[in-house]
Amino acid sequence: MKLNLALAQINTKLGDVNANLEKHMALVNEAKSSGAELVLFPELSLTGYVLQDLVPSVATLTEAHDPVFRHLLQASQALDIVVGFVDEDARHRFYIASAYLSGGEIVHIHHKVYLPTYGLFDEGRFFAPGNTIRAFNTRFGRMGMLICEDFWHASPPYLLWLDGADLLLFSSASPGRGLNAETKLESSAWVEHTNRAYAGLFTTFVAHTNRTGFEDGLNFWGGSTVYDPNGDLLVQGPYFEEALTLCEIDLNQLHRTRARLPLLRDERPDLVEREIKRILHGN
Protein backbone atom coordinates (compact mmCIF):
# COMPACT_ATOMS: atom_id res chain seq x y z
CA MET A 1 0.00 0.00 0.00
CA LYS A 2 1.27 3.42 -0.98
CA LEU A 3 0.66 6.75 0.70
CA ASN A 4 1.36 10.03 -1.02
CA LEU A 5 2.47 12.41 1.66
CA ALA A 6 2.99 16.17 1.33
CA LEU A 7 5.07 18.18 3.79
CA ALA A 8 3.91 21.81 3.73
CA GLN A 9 6.73 23.77 5.36
CA ILE A 10 5.34 27.27 5.44
CA ASN A 11 6.07 30.66 6.89
CA THR A 12 3.23 32.17 8.91
CA LYS A 13 1.91 35.61 9.74
CA LEU A 14 2.21 36.14 13.48
CA GLY A 15 -1.27 36.23 14.99
CA ASP A 16 -3.14 36.55 11.68
CA VAL A 17 -5.23 33.37 11.50
CA ASN A 18 -7.17 34.36 8.40
CA ALA A 19 -4.07 35.10 6.35
CA ASN A 20 -2.55 31.80 7.48
CA LEU A 21 -5.75 29.92 6.70
CA GLU A 22 -5.68 31.31 3.19
CA LYS A 23 -2.16 29.98 2.75
CA HIS A 24 -3.26 26.58 4.09
CA MET A 25 -6.08 26.40 1.57
CA ALA A 26 -3.72 27.25 -1.30
CA LEU A 27 -1.23 24.59 -0.19
CA VAL A 28 -3.98 22.02 0.34
CA ASN A 29 -5.14 22.61 -3.22
CA GLU A 30 -1.62 22.36 -4.55
CA ALA A 31 -1.04 19.16 -2.59
CA LYS A 32 -4.29 17.74 -3.89
CA SER A 33 -3.49 18.48 -7.50
CA SER A 34 -0.06 16.90 -6.98
CA GLY A 35 -1.76 13.68 -5.96
CA ALA A 36 -1.12 13.95 -2.21
CA GLU A 37 -3.42 12.04 0.14
CA LEU A 38 -2.14 13.55 3.40
CA VAL A 39 -0.66 17.00 3.91
CA LEU A 40 1.27 17.83 7.06
CA PHE A 41 1.54 21.44 8.29
CA PRO A 42 3.98 22.64 10.99
CA GLU A 43 3.42 23.47 14.66
CA LEU A 44 1.05 26.42 15.20
CA SER A 45 0.71 26.74 11.44
CA LEU A 46 -2.53 28.72 11.73
CA THR A 47 -1.19 31.26 14.20
CA GLY A 48 2.60 31.65 14.18
CA TYR A 49 4.89 30.59 17.01
CA VAL A 50 6.05 33.26 19.49
CA LEU A 51 2.51 34.28 20.33
CA GLN A 52 2.98 35.45 23.91
CA ASP A 53 -0.02 37.66 24.79
CA LEU A 54 -1.64 36.90 21.42
CA VAL A 55 -2.53 33.36 22.57
CA PRO A 56 -6.12 34.06 23.73
CA SER A 57 -6.96 36.07 20.61
CA VAL A 58 -5.87 33.39 18.12
CA ALA A 59 -7.30 30.37 19.93
CA THR A 60 -9.82 28.14 18.18
CA LEU A 61 -12.75 26.32 19.73
CA THR A 62 -12.77 23.15 17.68
CA GLU A 63 -16.07 21.96 19.12
CA ALA A 64 -18.02 24.94 17.85
CA HIS A 65 -18.77 25.69 14.23
CA ASP A 66 -15.52 27.51 14.03
CA PRO A 67 -15.18 29.34 10.69
CA VAL A 68 -11.52 28.42 10.44
CA PHE A 69 -12.06 24.73 10.98
CA ARG A 70 -15.11 24.69 8.72
CA HIS A 71 -12.89 25.48 5.73
CA LEU A 72 -10.25 22.97 6.68
CA LEU A 73 -12.81 20.24 7.39
CA GLN A 74 -14.39 20.85 4.02
CA ALA A 75 -10.99 20.54 2.36
CA SER A 76 -10.36 17.31 4.25
CA GLN A 77 -13.03 15.67 2.10
CA ALA A 78 -10.39 15.55 -0.64
CA LEU A 79 -7.28 14.72 1.35
CA ASP A 80 -6.27 14.28 4.97
CA ILE A 81 -4.80 17.31 6.71
CA VAL A 82 -2.69 17.78 9.82
CA VAL A 83 -2.84 21.38 11.00
CA GLY A 84 -1.26 23.24 13.92
CA PHE A 85 -3.30 25.66 16.03
CA VAL A 86 -4.09 26.96 19.51
CA ASP A 87 -6.85 24.87 21.06
CA GLU A 88 -8.98 26.44 23.77
CA ASP A 89 -10.87 23.96 25.91
CA ALA A 90 -14.28 24.44 27.52
CA ARG A 91 -12.59 25.68 30.71
CA HIS A 92 -10.53 28.21 28.67
CA ARG A 93 -7.17 26.59 28.94
CA PHE A 94 -4.98 27.07 25.89
CA TYR A 95 -2.99 24.27 24.28
CA ILE A 96 -0.51 24.02 21.43
CA ALA A 97 -2.39 21.51 19.29
CA SER A 98 -2.30 19.45 16.12
CA ALA A 99 -5.47 18.13 14.53
CA TYR A 100 -5.77 15.25 12.07
CA LEU A 101 -8.68 15.98 9.73
CA SER A 102 -10.16 13.48 7.28
CA GLY A 103 -13.43 13.11 5.39
CA GLY A 104 -14.83 16.26 6.97
CA GLU A 105 -14.19 15.00 10.52
CA ILE A 106 -11.70 15.71 13.25
CA VAL A 107 -10.09 12.29 13.67
CA HIS A 108 -7.70 13.20 16.48
CA ILE A 109 -6.34 16.19 18.38
CA HIS A 110 -3.01 16.09 20.15
CA HIS A 111 -2.13 18.66 22.80
CA LYS A 112 1.59 19.30 23.13
CA VAL A 113 2.69 17.59 26.31
CA TYR A 114 6.17 19.01 26.77
CA LEU A 115 6.23 22.81 26.73
CA PRO A 116 9.82 24.03 26.62
CA THR A 117 10.27 26.82 29.15
CA TYR A 118 13.99 27.41 29.14
CA GLY A 119 16.56 29.21 27.02
CA LEU A 120 14.75 31.10 24.30
CA PHE A 121 11.48 29.23 24.97
CA ASP A 122 8.64 30.41 27.20
CA GLU A 123 5.75 28.10 26.28
CA GLY A 124 4.89 27.06 29.84
CA ARG A 125 4.10 30.66 30.65
CA PHE A 126 1.38 30.91 28.02
CA PHE A 127 0.06 27.38 27.47
CA ALA A 128 -1.36 24.44 29.39
CA PRO A 129 0.43 21.11 28.86
CA GLY A 130 -1.36 18.21 27.21
CA ASN A 131 -1.88 15.09 29.26
CA THR A 132 -2.25 12.23 26.79
CA ILE A 133 -0.22 10.50 24.13
CA ARG A 134 -2.43 8.34 21.94
CA ALA A 135 -2.15 6.71 18.55
CA PHE A 136 -5.22 6.84 16.30
CA ASN A 137 -6.61 5.04 13.26
CA THR A 138 -6.66 6.64 9.83
CA ARG A 139 -7.62 5.34 6.42
CA PHE A 140 -3.91 4.64 5.87
CA GLY A 141 -3.29 2.79 9.11
CA ARG A 142 -2.53 3.76 12.68
CA MET A 143 -0.59 6.95 13.27
CA GLY A 144 0.60 9.21 16.06
CA MET A 145 1.21 12.95 16.23
CA LEU A 146 3.78 14.81 18.31
CA ILE A 147 4.75 18.46 18.45
CA CYS A 148 8.36 19.62 18.61
CA GLU A 149 9.56 19.28 22.23
CA ASP A 150 7.37 16.17 22.56
CA PHE A 151 9.88 14.30 20.43
CA TRP A 152 12.95 15.74 22.15
CA HIS A 153 11.79 13.36 24.88
CA ALA A 154 12.15 9.67 24.08
CA SER A 155 9.01 8.45 25.83
CA PRO A 156 6.28 9.97 23.59
CA PRO A 157 7.50 8.30 20.36
CA TYR A 158 8.02 5.09 22.35
CA LEU A 159 4.45 5.21 23.69
CA LEU A 160 3.02 5.85 20.23
CA TRP A 161 5.01 2.90 18.90
CA LEU A 162 3.57 0.62 21.55
CA ASP A 163 0.12 2.06 20.92
CA GLY A 164 0.31 0.87 17.32
CA ALA A 165 1.48 3.88 15.34
CA ASP A 166 3.36 2.89 12.21
CA LEU A 167 3.65 6.42 10.93
CA LEU A 168 4.78 9.13 13.32
CA LEU A 169 3.73 12.61 12.24
CA PHE A 170 5.96 15.26 13.82
CA SER A 171 5.48 18.98 13.46
CA SER A 172 7.57 21.82 14.77
CA ALA A 173 8.42 25.49 14.74
CA SER A 174 12.07 24.95 15.48
CA PRO A 175 14.20 28.07 15.82
CA GLY A 176 17.59 27.62 14.16
CA ARG A 177 20.47 27.87 16.63
CA GLY A 178 23.93 26.54 17.33
CA LEU A 179 26.49 27.93 14.92
CA ASN A 180 29.77 26.22 14.13
CA ALA A 181 31.84 25.30 11.10
CA GLU A 182 29.25 22.76 9.89
CA THR A 183 26.97 23.47 6.97
CA LYS A 184 23.86 23.05 9.11
CA LEU A 185 22.88 24.52 12.46
CA GLU A 186 23.15 22.32 15.55
CA SER A 187 19.36 22.40 15.99
CA SER A 188 18.82 21.00 12.48
CA ALA A 189 21.47 18.34 12.93
CA TRP A 190 20.00 17.29 16.30
CA VAL A 191 16.43 16.96 15.02
CA GLU A 192 17.48 15.02 11.93
CA HIS A 193 19.69 12.73 13.97
CA THR A 194 16.90 12.06 16.47
CA ASN A 195 14.15 11.50 13.92
CA ARG A 196 16.33 9.11 12.02
CA ALA A 197 17.03 7.27 15.26
CA TYR A 198 13.30 6.94 16.04
CA ALA A 199 12.64 5.56 12.56
CA GLY A 200 15.39 2.98 12.95
CA LEU A 201 14.79 2.09 16.62
CA PHE A 202 11.05 1.71 16.17
CA THR A 203 11.21 0.38 12.60
CA THR A 204 8.56 2.91 11.67
CA PHE A 205 7.99 5.86 9.34
CA VAL A 206 8.79 9.28 10.74
CA ALA A 207 7.56 12.35 8.86
CA HIS A 208 8.49 15.80 10.16
CA THR A 209 7.36 19.23 8.96
CA ASN A 210 9.17 22.26 10.30
CA ARG A 211 8.22 25.84 9.51
CA THR A 212 10.29 28.53 7.81
CA GLY A 213 10.58 32.30 8.01
CA PHE A 214 11.48 34.63 10.86
CA GLU A 215 9.85 36.00 13.98
CA ASP A 216 11.88 38.98 15.14
CA GLY A 217 15.42 37.59 15.26
CA LEU A 218 14.44 33.90 15.28
CA ASN A 219 14.90 31.93 12.06
CA PHE A 220 12.97 28.74 11.38
CA TRP A 221 14.95 26.32 9.30
CA GLY A 222 12.44 24.16 7.40
CA GLY A 223 14.26 21.07 6.16
CA SER A 224 11.24 18.75 6.58
CA THR A 225 12.04 15.05 6.33
CA VAL A 226 10.61 11.57 5.93
CA TYR A 227 12.58 8.59 7.24
CA ASP A 228 11.58 5.02 6.48
CA PRO A 229 11.56 2.03 8.89
CA ASN A 230 15.20 1.32 8.03
CA GLY A 231 16.14 4.81 9.18
CA ASP A 232 16.85 5.87 5.61
CA LEU A 233 16.03 9.38 4.48
CA LEU A 234 13.33 9.29 1.79
CA VAL A 235 13.01 13.00 1.16
CA GLN A 236 14.04 16.36 2.56
CA GLY A 237 12.60 19.81 1.94
CA PRO A 238 14.92 22.78 1.47
CA TYR A 239 16.37 24.62 4.44
CA PHE A 240 14.90 28.04 5.28
CA GLU A 241 12.53 28.25 2.30
CA GLU A 242 8.85 27.56 2.00
CA ALA A 243 8.14 24.37 0.07
CA LEU A 244 5.64 21.64 -0.54
CA THR A 245 7.69 18.44 -0.49
CA LEU A 246 6.07 15.29 -1.82
CA CYS A 247 6.94 11.77 -0.81
CA GLU A 248 5.44 8.48 -1.86
CA ILE A 249 5.62 6.09 1.07
CA ASP A 250 5.51 2.37 0.49
CA LEU A 251 3.80 1.12 3.64
CA ASN A 252 4.82 -2.46 2.75
CA GLN A 253 8.32 -1.46 3.86
CA LEU A 254 7.05 -2.07 7.40
CA HIS A 255 6.60 -5.74 6.52
CA ARG A 256 10.05 -6.09 4.99
CA THR A 257 11.91 -4.25 7.74
CA ARG A 258 10.14 -5.97 10.62
CA ALA A 259 10.64 -9.38 9.00
CA ARG A 260 14.35 -8.67 9.06
CA LEU A 261 14.48 -6.82 12.36
CA PRO A 262 11.69 -7.83 14.80
CA LEU A 263 12.34 -5.12 17.40
CA LEU A 264 8.63 -4.52 17.88
CA ARG A 265 7.92 -8.25 18.33
CA ASP A 266 10.67 -8.55 20.93
CA GLU A 267 9.93 -5.35 22.83
CA ARG A 268 9.05 -5.95 26.51
CA PRO A 269 6.57 -3.29 27.62
CA ASP A 270 5.62 -5.45 30.63
CA LEU A 271 9.22 -5.28 31.78
CA VAL A 272 9.24 -1.52 31.19
CA GLU A 273 6.06 -1.19 33.23
CA ARG A 274 7.52 -3.21 36.09
CA GLU A 275 10.75 -1.24 36.17
CA ILE A 276 9.01 2.13 35.87
CA LYS A 277 6.78 1.19 38.78
CA ARG A 278 9.83 0.23 40.80
CA ILE A 279 11.60 3.49 39.89
CA LEU A 280 8.55 5.61 40.71
CA HIS A 281 7.22 3.77 43.72
CA GLY A 282 10.13 1.70 44.98
CA ASN A 283 8.33 -1.62 44.63
Binding site: D16, D53, A181, F214, N219
Partner: protein
Protein backbone atom coordinates in the same frame (compact mmCIF):
# COMPACT_ATOMS: atom_id res chain seq x y z
CA UNK B 1 38.40 22.18 26.36
CA UNK B 2 37.68 22.96 22.74
CA UNK B 3 37.32 26.56 21.66
CA UNK B 4 36.43 26.73 18.02
CA UNK B 5 34.87 29.93 16.74
CA UNK B 6 34.80 28.75 13.14
CA UNK B 7 31.60 29.35 11.25
CA UNK B 8 30.22 28.24 7.92
CA UNK B 9 30.05 31.64 6.21
CA UNK B 10 27.69 30.43 3.46
CA UNK B 11 25.09 29.35 6.04
CA UNK B 12 25.42 32.57 8.04
CA UNK B 13 25.15 34.65 4.90
CA UNK B 14 21.98 32.87 3.86
CA UNK B 15 20.30 33.36 7.24
CA UNK B 16 21.37 36.98 7.68
CA UNK B 17 20.38 38.19 4.23
CA UNK B 18 16.99 36.50 4.62
CA UNK B 19 16.67 38.12 8.06
CA UNK B 20 17.36 41.60 6.66
CA UNK B 21 14.99 41.21 3.75
CA UNK B 22 12.19 39.72 5.85
CA UNK B 23 12.38 42.05 8.81
CA UNK B 24 12.71 45.22 6.76
CA UNK B 25 9.83 44.07 4.58
CA UNK B 26 7.61 43.39 7.59
CA UNK B 27 8.12 46.95 8.74
CA UNK B 28 6.85 48.00 5.28
CA UNK B 29 10.23 49.12 4.04
CA UNK B 30 12.42 47.84 1.25
CA UNK B 31 15.53 49.93 1.83
CA UNK B 32 18.34 50.25 4.33
CA UNK B 33 20.69 52.91 5.65
CA UNK B 34 24.10 51.94 7.02
CA UNK B 35 26.63 54.13 8.79
CA UNK B 36 29.74 52.99 6.97
CA UNK B 37 32.81 53.77 9.05
CA UNK B 38 35.25 51.99 6.79
CA UNK B 39 35.74 49.32 9.44
CA UNK B 40 35.01 45.62 9.41
CA UNK B 41 31.61 45.48 11.09
CA UNK B 42 29.85 48.19 9.13
CA UNK B 43 31.36 46.86 5.90
CA UNK B 44 29.88 43.42 6.56
CA UNK B 45 26.48 44.85 7.56
CA UNK B 46 26.46 47.00 4.43
CA UNK B 47 27.43 44.08 2.18
CA UNK B 48 24.73 41.89 3.75
CA UNK B 49 22.12 44.62 3.27
CA UNK B 50 23.19 45.08 -0.33
CA UNK B 51 22.94 41.37 -1.01
CA UNK B 52 19.56 41.17 0.73
CA UNK B 53 17.88 44.24 -0.77
CA UNK B 54 19.84 45.06 -3.91
CA UNK B 55 22.60 47.68 -4.06
CA UNK B 56 20.22 50.39 -5.25
CA UNK B 57 18.20 50.00 -2.06
CA UNK B 58 21.09 50.60 0.30
CA UNK B 59 22.36 54.01 1.33
CA UNK B 60 25.86 53.98 2.82
CA UNK B 61 26.69 57.04 4.89
CA UNK B 62 30.20 58.34 5.34
CA UNK B 63 30.07 60.68 8.32
CA UNK B 64 33.58 61.95 9.02
CA UNK B 65 34.68 64.30 11.76
CA UNK B 66 37.54 66.57 10.76
CA UNK B 67 40.07 64.44 12.64
CA UNK B 68 38.75 61.13 11.28
CA UNK B 69 41.42 59.13 9.57
CA UNK B 70 41.63 59.44 5.80
CA UNK B 71 41.94 55.65 5.66
CA UNK B 72 38.47 55.27 7.13
CA UNK B 73 36.94 57.42 4.43
CA UNK B 74 38.87 55.71 1.66
CA UNK B 75 38.07 52.23 2.88
CA UNK B 76 34.38 53.12 3.05
CA UNK B 77 34.58 54.39 -0.53
CA UNK B 78 36.34 51.22 -1.61
CA UNK B 79 33.39 49.18 -0.37
CA UNK B 80 30.80 51.58 -1.80
CA UNK B 81 32.44 51.26 -5.22
CA UNK B 82 32.72 47.50 -4.94
CA UNK B 83 29.09 46.99 -3.94
CA UNK B 84 27.61 49.76 -6.06
CA UNK B 85 25.41 50.96 -3.20
CA UNK B 86 24.24 54.55 -2.99
CA UNK B 87 26.25 56.84 -0.76
CA UNK B 88 26.35 60.21 0.88
CA UNK B 89 29.20 61.93 2.69
CA UNK B 90 27.98 64.24 5.44
CA UNK B 91 30.67 65.66 7.75
CA UNK B 92 29.62 65.89 11.40
CA UNK B 93 32.36 68.40 12.32
CA UNK B 94 30.06 71.42 12.61
CA UNK B 95 27.46 69.55 14.66
CA UNK B 96 30.03 68.17 17.04
CA UNK B 97 32.19 71.31 17.27
CA UNK B 98 29.20 73.37 18.34
CA UNK B 99 28.99 71.23 21.48
CA UNK B 100 32.73 70.79 21.93
CA UNK B 101 33.10 74.61 21.97
CA UNK B 102 30.97 74.82 25.12
CA UNK B 103 33.60 72.99 27.14
CA UNK B 104 37.23 73.15 26.07
CA UNK B 105 38.10 70.67 28.84
CA UNK B 106 35.81 68.01 27.41
CA UNK B 107 37.21 64.49 27.83
CA UNK B 108 37.89 62.25 24.84
CA UNK B 109 35.09 59.94 26.00
CA UNK B 110 32.56 62.78 26.01
CA UNK B 111 33.76 63.95 22.62
CA UNK B 112 33.60 60.39 21.28
CA UNK B 113 30.05 59.95 22.58
CA UNK B 114 28.95 63.20 20.95
CA UNK B 115 30.41 62.10 17.62
CA UNK B 116 28.73 58.70 17.84
CA UNK B 117 25.40 60.35 18.64
CA UNK B 118 25.80 62.97 15.90
CA UNK B 119 26.22 60.08 13.46
CA UNK B 120 23.09 58.47 14.87
CA UNK B 121 21.13 61.70 14.24
CA UNK B 122 22.29 61.83 10.63
CA UNK B 123 21.53 58.13 10.09
CA UNK B 124 18.00 58.45 11.43
CA UNK B 125 17.42 61.61 9.41
CA UNK B 126 18.55 59.80 6.27
CA UNK B 127 16.37 56.88 7.29
CA UNK B 128 13.35 59.15 6.88
CA UNK B 129 14.67 60.89 3.77
CA UNK B 130 15.66 57.66 1.98
CA UNK B 131 12.77 55.62 3.42
CA UNK B 132 15.17 52.97 4.64
CA UNK B 133 15.71 51.33 8.02
CA UNK B 134 18.97 51.75 9.88
CA UNK B 135 20.87 48.46 9.84
CA UNK B 136 23.07 48.00 12.89
CA UNK B 137 26.76 47.23 12.94
CA UNK B 138 27.43 46.05 16.50
CA UNK B 139 28.97 42.59 16.91
CA UNK B 140 28.47 40.19 19.83
CA UNK B 141 31.84 41.00 21.38
CA UNK B 142 31.20 44.73 21.64
CA UNK B 143 27.59 44.28 22.73
CA UNK B 144 28.66 41.97 25.55
CA UNK B 145 31.51 44.25 26.60
CA UNK B 146 29.34 47.34 26.24
CA UNK B 147 31.96 48.81 23.96
CA UNK B 148 29.64 51.27 22.26
CA UNK B 149 27.86 54.55 22.82
CA UNK B 150 24.30 54.11 24.05
CA UNK B 151 21.90 55.75 21.55
CA UNK B 152 24.95 56.34 19.37
CA UNK B 153 26.55 53.63 17.26
CA UNK B 154 24.36 51.04 19.00
CA UNK B 155 21.15 52.64 17.67
CA UNK B 156 19.52 50.71 14.84
CA UNK B 157 16.27 49.18 13.61
CA UNK B 158 17.68 45.67 13.14
CA UNK B 159 21.08 44.16 13.74
CA UNK B 160 22.16 41.27 11.53
CA UNK B 161 25.63 40.72 13.05
CA UNK B 162 24.92 41.02 16.79
CA UNK B 163 25.23 37.27 17.38
CA UNK B 164 28.65 36.98 15.74
CA UNK B 165 31.87 37.53 17.66
CA UNK B 166 34.38 39.88 16.08
CA UNK B 167 36.55 37.00 14.91
CA UNK B 168 33.48 35.43 13.30
CA UNK B 169 32.56 38.68 11.56
CA UNK B 170 36.06 38.58 10.09
CA UNK B 171 35.44 35.07 8.69
CA UNK B 172 32.20 36.26 7.14
CA UNK B 173 33.98 39.31 5.70
CA UNK B 174 36.50 37.08 3.93
CA UNK B 175 33.72 35.02 2.37
CA UNK B 176 31.95 38.18 1.24
CA UNK B 177 35.05 39.56 -0.46
CA UNK B 178 35.31 42.62 1.74
CA UNK B 179 38.53 44.40 0.71
CA UNK B 180 41.55 42.93 2.49
CA UNK B 181 42.66 46.35 3.78
CA UNK B 182 39.42 46.58 5.79
CA UNK B 183 39.73 43.04 7.14
CA UNK B 184 43.32 43.28 8.29
CA UNK B 185 43.56 46.79 9.75
CA UNK B 186 43.37 47.16 13.56
CA UNK B 187 39.73 47.71 14.61
CA UNK B 188 39.10 51.28 15.75
CA UNK B 189 36.14 53.49 16.64
CA UNK B 190 38.23 56.30 15.12
CA UNK B 191 36.88 58.80 17.63
CA UNK B 192 40.34 60.20 18.30
CA UNK B 193 43.63 59.84 16.56
CA UNK B 194 45.52 56.64 17.23
CA UNK B 195 42.56 55.03 19.03
CA UNK B 196 42.28 51.26 18.60
CA UNK B 197 39.71 48.95 20.17
CA UNK B 198 42.30 46.56 21.49
CA UNK B 199 44.46 49.38 22.89
CA UNK B 200 41.49 50.87 24.70
CA UNK B 201 40.03 47.58 25.94
CA UNK B 202 43.41 46.29 27.08
CA UNK B 203 43.10 42.89 25.43
CA UNK B 204 42.80 41.40 21.96
CA UNK B 205 39.62 40.28 20.21
CA UNK B 206 41.24 36.91 19.60
CA UNK B 207 41.58 36.39 23.37
CA UNK B 208 38.33 37.93 24.55
CA UNK B 209 36.25 36.14 21.90
CA UNK B 210 37.59 32.79 23.11
CA UNK B 211 36.83 33.70 26.70
CA UNK B 212 33.34 35.04 25.95
CA UNK B 213 32.59 31.93 23.93
CA UNK B 214 33.34 29.81 27.00
CA UNK B 215 31.49 32.05 29.45
CA UNK B 216 28.44 32.93 27.39
CA UNK B 217 27.93 30.29 24.71
CA UNK B 218 29.29 27.28 26.58
CA UNK B 219 28.25 28.40 30.09
CA UNK B 220 31.62 27.72 31.75
CA UNK B 221 32.16 29.23 35.20
CA UNK B 222 34.80 31.98 35.45
CA UNK B 223 37.01 29.75 37.64
CA UNK B 224 36.88 27.02 35.01
CA UNK B 225 38.15 29.53 32.44
CA UNK B 226 41.05 30.35 34.77
CA UNK B 227 41.78 26.63 35.10
CA UNK B 228 41.75 26.43 31.32
CA UNK B 229 44.60 28.92 31.19
CA UNK B 230 43.03 32.38 31.00
CA UNK B 231 44.62 35.01 33.30
CA UNK B 232 42.57 35.46 36.44
CA UNK B 233 42.68 39.26 36.19
CA UNK B 234 41.58 39.13 32.56
CA UNK B 235 38.67 36.80 33.32
CA UNK B 236 37.54 38.99 36.20
CA UNK B 237 37.77 42.14 34.12
CA UNK B 238 35.68 40.67 31.31
CA UNK B 239 33.05 39.14 33.62
CA UNK B 240 32.67 42.45 35.40
CA UNK B 241 32.47 44.39 32.14
CA UNK B 242 29.72 42.15 30.82
CA UNK B 243 27.74 42.55 34.05
CA UNK B 244 28.25 46.30 34.33
CA UNK B 245 27.05 46.91 30.77
CA UNK B 246 23.78 44.99 30.96
CA UNK B 247 21.99 48.37 30.97
CA UNK B 248 23.08 48.93 27.38
CA UNK B 249 21.44 45.68 26.29
CA UNK B 250 17.93 46.24 27.64
CA UNK B 251 15.24 48.86 27.35
CA UNK B 252 15.07 51.26 30.31
CA UNK B 253 13.00 49.69 33.10
CA UNK B 254 9.53 51.10 33.57
CA UNK B 255 8.33 51.47 37.17
CA UNK B 256 5.43 49.05 37.50
CA UNK B 257 2.19 50.48 38.85
CA UNK B 258 -0.73 49.03 36.91
CA UNK B 259 -1.83 45.43 36.46
CA UNK B 260 -0.41 45.39 32.96
CA UNK B 261 2.87 47.07 32.29
CA UNK B 262 4.93 47.41 29.14
CA UNK B 263 7.97 45.19 29.37
CA UNK B 264 6.64 42.91 32.14
CA UNK B 265 3.22 41.59 31.25
CA UNK B 266 2.42 43.24 27.95
CA UNK B 267 4.33 40.85 25.76
CA UNK B 268 4.32 40.88 21.99
CA UNK B 269 7.03 40.40 19.42
CA UNK B 270 7.88 43.31 17.20
CA UNK B 271 6.63 41.20 14.29
CA UNK B 272 3.14 41.13 15.83
CA UNK B 273 0.54 40.85 13.07
CA UNK B 274 3.04 40.53 10.23
Amino acid sequence: MEIDLSIDPALVRKILTAFIKTEIGRANFSRAVVNLSGGLDSSVSCALASEALGAENVLALRLPYKTSSQDSLEHAQLLIDQLGVRSLTIPISEMADALFARDPEMSPVRRGNIMARARMIVAYDQSEAFRGLVVGTGNKTEILLGYSTLYGDSACAINPIGDLYKTQVRQLARAMDIPEAIITKPPSADLWQGQTDEGELGFTYADVDRLLYLLVDQRYRPEECVEAGFEKVFVHKVVERVRRNQFKRVLPPIAKLSSRTIGYDFLYLRDWGT
